[in-house]
């Protein structure tokens, strides 16, 4: 037997110029949704043409309320078609006559079907609900979104269902850092710290923390496993991280690095700034490759061997699309790569040595670039005189020779812009800054 409302649905489909076959398809979709039995196309066609005949019979008063047995199917049909509430109301009014549509009922029904395809829904909320578990699941999500990092860790221990919600949510962190040592692992998430170690004797020095910072000490002989498991959960649920710091102490193991890389697999969070310290320089690039190029603006890297392969780094998209780069403790690029650094607003690099002609080349490039560039060059073999030789005396407008540094302000000819030089010989570096 066809469901109540089929008559109105056919009238409505006819209004929308649907053929019997199209109308049957629409009807099938509605039945699928409502989980009610479908009548065959043949039977449907008989109904369809019978109703059409009635509609076009000149003696029939088409807009007869008695015939509009139920508009629910028509409303669902509109919901399925993605029709707006206004359009649906307009069309149904035109088809059946506005006077035959109970406004209030229509709006209730429309809105309900948007969420719940239950024909018998009585427009009431479910029974008395006074506790958390009976709140709708989307509200659970919304509530748990408001928890701070520490509470999120605690909630995971409350029940499996809450843990699943927490794990399904994506979180924005302003700060995330992971320190690996032989005897301990430290995880910092915003203001919250988790220290994992076997005993209270950790690898890391006590550091200043804000009085509001929450801290949990986990002393367990399986601290590595526990830390890596938590880390994996945190990384998987991270959405964006403003500053991401990874710090492998000298005492850290290769196993820890491999485990960290494994935890990074399949993560999709965006990082804006990163500081990476590794034991072996090649490891930094492996970490860097996980970050989305373009989103990553600031790269700072350090390796214990200071032997990083810059040829590989400069080819990485993450490098090409960054804005600031600090790699003076990572590796030494060949000077032939220097033009690859000219796209950065700020960079700090270490070179083997710096000759006058090289300073001139950099200075010429800097003159042509926009303002607010701040480039620093380190070299253990820095000879300040080599740099000073590159400065055209006719351009110097200020010179300040102090004990610890020498400052030159030069004006670019035919321009409003300046380039300043700060030379710090005792610390083996000099800086060039273009500004207005």
């Amino acid at each position: 037997m066809p469901p109540p409302g089929l008559h109105s649905l056919i009238v409505y489909d006819n209004f929308e110029w649907k053929t019997a076959q199209k109308s049957h398809e629409n009807y099938q979709n509605i039945c699928d949704l409502l989980k009610i039995p479908v009548i065959s196309l043949e039977e449907y066609e008989t109904e369809f043409y019978g109703i059409l005949k009635e509609i076009y019979h000149p003696k029939l008063i088409f807009r007869n309320l008695a015939k509009i047995d139920n508009l629910k199917l028509g409303i669902i049909s509109d919901v399925l078609a993605g029709k707006s509430i206004e359009k649906s109301y307009e069309d149904l009014s035109e088809t059946f006559g506005a006077e035959n549509i109970d406004d209030l009922n229509f709006f209730w029904n429309y809105r309900f079907y948007h969420r719940c395809y239950d024909l018998d829904h009585d427009q009431k909320l479910d029974p008395e609900r006074k506790d958390f578990l009976n709140l709708p699941i989307e509200i659970h999500h919304k509530i748990l979104e408001n928890l701070d990092v520490k509470s999120r860790f605690t909630i995971r221990k409350v029940s499996r269902s809450l843990r699943d919600i927490i794990d399904s949510q994506r979180v924005d962190y302003s700060y995330m850092s992971i320190d690996f040592g032989k005897k301990s692992i430290r995880l910092k998430l915003n203001d919250f710290r988790l220290n994992y170690s076997e005993s209270s004797c950790a690898d890391f020095l006590a550091e200043w923390a804000s009085p509001d910072a929450e801290k949990i000490e986990i002393l367990d002989k399986n601290f590595q496993k526990m830390a890596l498991k938590d880390l994996e959960i945190v990384l998987k649920s991270a959405k964006t991280v403003d500053l991401f710091v990874v710090h492998f102490e000298g005492s850290s193991s290769k196993f820890q690095f491999e485990s960290f890389l494994k935890a990074m697999e399949n993560t999709t969070f965006d990082v804006k700034q990163t500081f990476i310290q590794v034991k072996r320089s090649g490891e930094a690039l492996k970490i860097l490759s996980h970050f989305k190029p373009g989103k990553l603006e600031y790269i700072s890297s350090k390796s214990f061997d200071k032997n990083g392969n810059l040829n590989n780094l400069v080819e990485m998209e993450q490098f090409k699309k960054a804005k600031e780069l600090y790699i003076e403790e990572y590796g030494i690029p060949d000077f032939s790569l220097i033009d690859r650094f000219f796209g950065f607003k700020k960079f700090v690099v270490r070179l083997d040595d710096i000759q006058t002609k090289e300073v001139i080349l950099v200075q010429t490039a800097l003159e042509k670039l926009p303002n607010d560039r701040h480039w620093t060059f380190y070299s253990d073999n820095l000879v300040c005189w080599n740099v000073e030789q590159a400065i055209d005396p006719s351009r110097i407008i200020e010179l300040d020779d102090q004990d610890f540094l020498t400052f030159y302000e030069t004006k670019i000819p035919n321009s409003e812009d300046y380039i300043s030089f700060v030379l710090v010989e005792w610390d083996h570096h000099f800086t060039m800054k273009k500004h207005q």
Partner: protein
Amino acid sequence: MSSTEQGTSSAAPAEPTTAPESAAAPEVPESFYYVHGKDKVVHKVSAGALQHSALIHGMISNLGYTEEQAKANPFPFENIDGDILQMVVDWCNQHKGKPTPPEDTNLPKQKEKLFDLVLAVNYLEIKELLTYCCKQVAMMVKGKSPEEIREIWMIPTDAEDEAAEKEAKKRAGKEAAGETAAAAGDAK
């Protein structure tokens, strides 16, 4: 049916005033609608205040009711307790046409009331108030241990949950077996 009048008292259309010729279009008098909860107490609320509720706003934006029609057809929210609806109406009135502040400290502290308010606000689709309410529910468990959270939110442990599930399955199995036996008896 008792009636409490909420919102602005100037329900009647304003008297036309002689505006200077350069003035912009004349001010449209504010329209009012009526809502009632489970207790049938009717609250008069301006369309401006009701804009906070996406559900009601969607309904009234197409109705074009006159004052009389609106009065005669209060929106029935049988599923919302009277005191909760009163809170919602008060909030909508207080925040009518104003940007909502980042925090709202006037929410009920009592757990049951807050959960009721969450349900009502979710149902009425009042986005900002729902955000405040959810924050408040989250604040209940800040700094608490898992055991304390279980107690506050009345959440069973996984073991209790599994036991209850097992018990329910067992009961359902027994009932099904009983029905089959009864059907077999009938057939005989």
